[in-house]
Subunit: 148 residues, 2 copies
DNA sequence: TATAACGTTTACGTAAACGTCAATGCGACC
DNA sequence: GGTCGCATTGACGTTTACGTAAACGTTATA
């Protein structure tokens, strides 16, 4: 875990904090996924942790990227789409053509997301209504809908 | 919501209203999916069109269900989950236990949907910012971000 | 009447996203 | 120094959601 007390960072000289890292198992627990899935995401080019010997070491940035990937999954995107979006997010911004591409793709994606937003609002409304009906029917039967 | 026998169309004749139906190819075109997919959804218990000879005939209700299925897919649900939700939507409401189950599952699902909603808002905000930055950088370079 | 344009079933193929071994390495502890 | 415990890399298996092709029936039109 926190390995051998060999030479520590010269805290008095440098202002950089210890820079926490994580093992694959720690991240897996935290995000409730398997190590296998995390390695798979790396194979797919979504993560690129450093190594300590053979073991993978995850930085704050890798951790953030993993969270981002999982959020994308919850929203129904494929790993390929998520990769494109992450790459876009960290894309080269040096040239005009690159910037134009970023603008175009961002707008495209926001459009998609807004469609999902409408779908989502509609489903939420529908299921609130379903719930409301059921609750009312329970009341009509003289049953408290909140009791076990 | 029953009869309002005012100055509506004369219902004097014996016939019921036309009741439009659709073929599988028509629905496939309309919803931009393949007939194969529509048949697959039927195999999975998501649709149950009637038949005219061997051919499938889709009612207004089937059409609605198909749209519902596709919306669920866009929101990242599996066909199994969608089936559960659709079944819930049309579930037996006769008994107290059934009604309780409906209330519980509806609330569960709304909770899931609200998580997605937060995820979605966050992603929209992020990509609007990505776009905004790129647009600003183009302006800084003296380029009109809107021109081709 | 033939053939195109749809529809059907059956069956095998496939891409995505992992799960599940198996064999192995490696530092930690007893 | 043996055994945990966690890490690694293959490699094959599995589930989901269809795609694709073959073989065939049914209606419309030339």
């Amino acid at each position: 875990m926190t390995s051998t007390p060999t030479l520590d960072a010269p805290r008095s000289a440098t202002k950089t904090p210890p820079a926490r890292t994580w093992t694959i198992a720690e991240l897996a627990r935290e995000y409730n996924v398997t190590p296998r899935a995390i390695r798979f995401y790396e194979d797919e080019g979504l993560l690129f942790p450093t190594r300590a010997g053979m073991s993978r070491i995850y930085s704050q940035g890798d951790r953030w990227r993993l969270g981002w990937v999982l959020r994308g999954k919850r929203l129904g995107f494929s790993l390929a789409e998520i990769k494109e979006l992450l790459d876009l997010y960290h894309a080269d911004r040096s040239g005009v053509q690159q910037l134009r591409a970023i603008v175009r793709k961002s707008r495209e994606h926001v459009g998609e997301l807004e469609t999902k937003l409408r779908d989502l609002r509609a489903q939420i409304a529908e299921f609130r209504e379903v719930e409301g009906h059921a609750v009312q029917m329970l009341r009509d039967k003289g049953v408290d809908p909140e009791s076990e």
